[in-house]
C-alpha cells in the first residue's frame, strides 16, 4: 500500500516536472529571470559594492533579492497552476483516483522546490563567473535557507490559490499579494524602521524571516544567530498549511 502511494507520488512529480519544462514561458521565467535580475543589479552596483555587500550585509543585496524572487516566482507559478487545474477539473479528476489530496499537492511542492534549486544553481554559477570573489557564501547553507523560505512562502501560496476566483485572476492576484511582501521584507529598508502596524504585518510574512535568515547566512553569522527566523518560517509554514486545508477549494 505505501509502496504504491510512493510510486504514484513520484510518477506524478515526474510528470508535472516534464509538463512544466514544456511550457517555455514559465520555464524561462522561473529559471532565467532571477539570474538576469541578479546580473543587472550586480553590474549597476559594481563588483566593489557587491563585495562589500557580502561583508557587511548592506540592506540591499542583489543575491538575496534574486533568491527571494526565485522563491516568489515559484509560488506565483504554483498559484497559477492550481487555479488552472481547478478550473479545468484536473484537480477533481486527480482526486477521484486513489491519490490522496496531500500527494497531489505535495507533488507540486516538490516540483517547485526542485526548480528553485536549479535556479539557485544558475545564480551561483553566474555570480562565480561574473563577479569573482563575491560569492563567498556557504552555498549549501544558503540553498537550505532558500528552500526553507520557499516552502514557507509556498504554504501561503496555497492560501492565495484558494482565494483566486478564476484562473484569469491568478497572475494579478498572486502578484498583488506576493510582491508587496518584498517591500516589507527588510530587503530594501530595515524592518525596524517601518511603522508599527507594518512591522507587525512583516512579522507574519514568511519573506521577512527568509530575508533575515539569508542575510545571516550571507554575512557569516549563520543559522545559529538566526534560529528564531528559521523557527518562524516553520511555524508560519504550519499555520498557513493548516489554514489552507480549511479554505482550499478543489473545484
Amino acid at each position: 500500500m505505501p509502496a504504491r502511494i510512493l510510486r504514484g507520488f513520484w510518477k506524478l512529480t515526474w510528470v508535472e516536472t516534464k509538463i512544466f519544462a514544456r511550457e517555455p514561458m514559465g520555464f524561462i521565467g522561473t529559471l532565467a529571470m532571477p539570474v538576469v535580475l541578479f546580473v543587472l543589479f550586480g553590474r549597476v552596483l559594481g563588483a566593489g559594492r557587491l563585495a562589500s555587500a557580502a561583508k557587511v550585509s548592506l540592506p540591499f543585496n542583489p543575491a538575496i533579492l534574486a533568491a527571494v524572487v526565485i522563491a516568489i516566482n515559484a509560488v506565483q507559478s504554483l498559484v497559477a497552476i492550481i487555479s488552472i487545474y481547478r478550473e479545468g477539473g484536473i484537480l477533481k479528476r486527480l482526486r477521484a483516483t486513489p491519490l490522496s489530496p496531500v500527494t497531489i499537492l505535495g507533488a507540486h511542492v516538490v516540483v517547485k522546490l526542485a526548480f528553485t534549486l536549479v535556479s539557485l544553481g544558475l545564480l551561483v554559477l553566474a555570480g562565480r563567473r561574473l563577479f569573482p570573489g563575491v560569492m563567498q557564501v556557504n552555498v549549501f547553507s544558503f540553498a537550505m535557507a532558500v528552500l526553507l523560505g520557499t516552502l514557507s512562502i509556498l504554504s501561503l501560496g496555497f492560501v492565495v490559490a484558494s482565494l483566486v476566483p478564476t484562473a484569469r485572476f491568478a497572475q494579478p492576484i498572486g502578484a498583488a499579494v506576493l510582491y508587496p511582501m518584498l517591500a516589507l521584507s527588510g530587503l530594501f529598508f530595515p524592518v525596524n524602521r517601518l511603522p508599527r502596524a507594518l512591522q507587525a504585518l512583516a512579522f507574519v510574512l514568511p519573506t521577512t524571516h527568509a530575508v533575515a535568515l539569508l542575510q545571516g547566512v550571507w554575512d557569516g553569522s549563520g543559522w545559529s544567530a538566526h534560529w528564531l527566523n528559521a523557527v518562524a518560517l516553520l511555524v508560519l509554514f504550519a499555520v498557513y498549511t493548516s489554514l489552507s486545508t480549511r479554505v482550499f477549494r478543489w473545484e
Binding site: 504514484g8 510518477k11 506524478l12 509538463i19 514544456r22 487545474y85 479545468g88 477539473g89 484536473i90 479528476r93
Partner: protein
C-alpha cells in the same frame, strides 16, 4: 440478459446546496451488467446524484451502497473498484497520452495493458500527443481509457458526449456498449434522449432533483406514450370513410400534390399498426407512401414534465 443483483442502491438521497435542494428524496437501484442512465435537463440533479454515489459529495440524508461498500467510509477500497469520467473534464494541457495512462496505471493495484487499451479505443496513433492537441472525441476516449485502466466493476460516465459532433458521438456509443459486453456495469448521465434510448437498458428520469420515473426505455414509452401514428399517401379519395368504418381513428387529412392526399391515423396498442396494414391490404388501397411514427423517450419526457428536455 441482466441478472438482478443490485450493485448500486440509493435510498432516499437528499442533497442541498444552501437553500437549494439539488437532489430530493431519490431512490434507485442499478443492476450488475446493465447500462443505467440518469436522464434529465441540465441542472436537474444528475451530476450531484452521481457524485454522491461515487463518494465525492456528502449526502444530507439517505443511504448509498456501491458494491456493498459505503462510498464515504470505504472510499479508498471503492476507488480501486470504480472508474469515473467527469463532465467537461480536462487534463494537464501538455501531458502526453501515454504519460496519463502510465500515471493512472501506477495508482491502482490491478491494471490492464495500457497500449492494448489505447488501441481498443482508437488512440494508438495519439500515444505521444499532448492532451491539448486532441479533438473532443479523442479527449473523451482518453477519459474512458483512464476510467477503465484498472478493470473497474462499475464505470460512471457523466455527460460523455456533450459537445461532440454526431460522428464522434456514435463512435463513443459503440465503445460504451463494448464496456457492457465485457461485463462492466455502466452508470451514465445524459440530457440527450436519443443517447439514452440507444445505450441504456434502464433509465431514471430526474427533474428538479426528483425522480419522476424509472424503467427500460421501451417500458416507459409503452406506459406513457402508447399511441402509434401511421401516415400514408394515396390517391384513393374515400379512404377516410373506409378506415373509420373499421373503427380506425383518422386524425388528419391533408391534400398532397395532384389528387393525392396524406392521411394521418392514430391509435393505441401493439395491434394498431397491423390493423391499418390489414385494412389497406383488404380494401386494395394503392398507397404511394407509408410510414409509422413510434414515440420516443423524448415524448415520454415531454409528457411527464410538461416541457421538452431543452426548454
Amino acid at each position: 440478459m441482466v441478472d438482478k443483483r443490485p450493485v448500486i442502491t440509493v435510498s432516499n438521497l437528499v442533497k442541498r446546496y444552501g437553500h437549494t435542494v439539488a437532489v430530493n428524496d431519490v431512490s434507485l437501484e442499478v443492476f450488475e451488467g446493465e447500462i443505467f442512465g440518469l436522464i434529465g435537463p441540465n441542472g436537474a440533479g444528475k451530476t450531484t446524484t452521481m457524485e454522491c454515489v461515487q463518494g465525492h459529495r456528502v449526502p444530507d440524508k439517505g443511504t448509498i451502497s456501491v458494491l456493498g461498500l459505503d462510498p464515504r467510509r470505504d472510499s479508498a477500497a471503492l476507488r480501486q473498484r470504480i472508474g469515473v469520467q467527469h463532465q467537461e473534464a480536462h487534463l494537464q494541457k501538455r501531458i502526453k497520452v501515454w504519460e496519463a495512462v502510465d500515471l493512472w496505471q501506477s495508482l491502482y493495484t490491478r491494471v490492464v495493458d495500457g497500449d492494448a487499451l489505447l488501441t481498443r479505443l482508437g488512440l494508438e496513433a495519439k500515444r505521444d500527443a499532448w492532451f491539448m492537441t486532441l479533438s473532443g472525441g479523442q479527449k473523451q476516449r482518453l477519459f474512458i481509457a483512464l476510467a477503465l485502466i484498472h478493470e473497474p466493476e462499475v464505470v460512471f460516465l457523466d455527460e460523455l458526449t456533450t459537445g461532440l459532433d454526431p460522428q464522434a458521438r456514435r463512435a463513443i456509443w459503440g465503445l460504451v456498449t463494448g464496456i457492457r459486453e465485457r461485463g462492466t456495469t455502466v452508470f451514465l448521465t445524459t440530457h440527450l434522449m436519443e443517447e439514452a434510448e440507444r445505450l441504456c437498458d434502464r433509465v431514471a428520469i430526474i427533474e428538479h432533483g426528483r425522480l419522476v420515473e424509472m424503467g427500460s426505455p421501451e417500458e416507459l414509452v409503452e406506459k406513457h406514450c402508447p399511441e402509434r401514428t401511421v401516415v400514408f399517401t394515396t390517391d384513393d379519395a374515400n379512404i377516410a370513410e373506409r378506415m373509420q368504418a373499421m373503427g380506425i381513428d383518422v386524425a388528419a387529412v391533408e391534400r398532397a400534390q395532384g389528387n393525392a392526399s396524406t392521411f394521418t391515423v392514430r391509435g393505441e396498442g401493439d395491434d394498431f399498426v397491423t390493423d391499418v396494414i390489414n385494412c389497406v391490404a383488404r380494401e386494395g388501397i394503392r398507397v404511394r407512401g407509408f410510414r409509422t411514427e413510434i414515440p420516443t423517450l423524448e415524448d415520454v419526457f415531454l409528457k411527464l414534465t410538461g416541457h421538452g428536455i431543452r426548454d
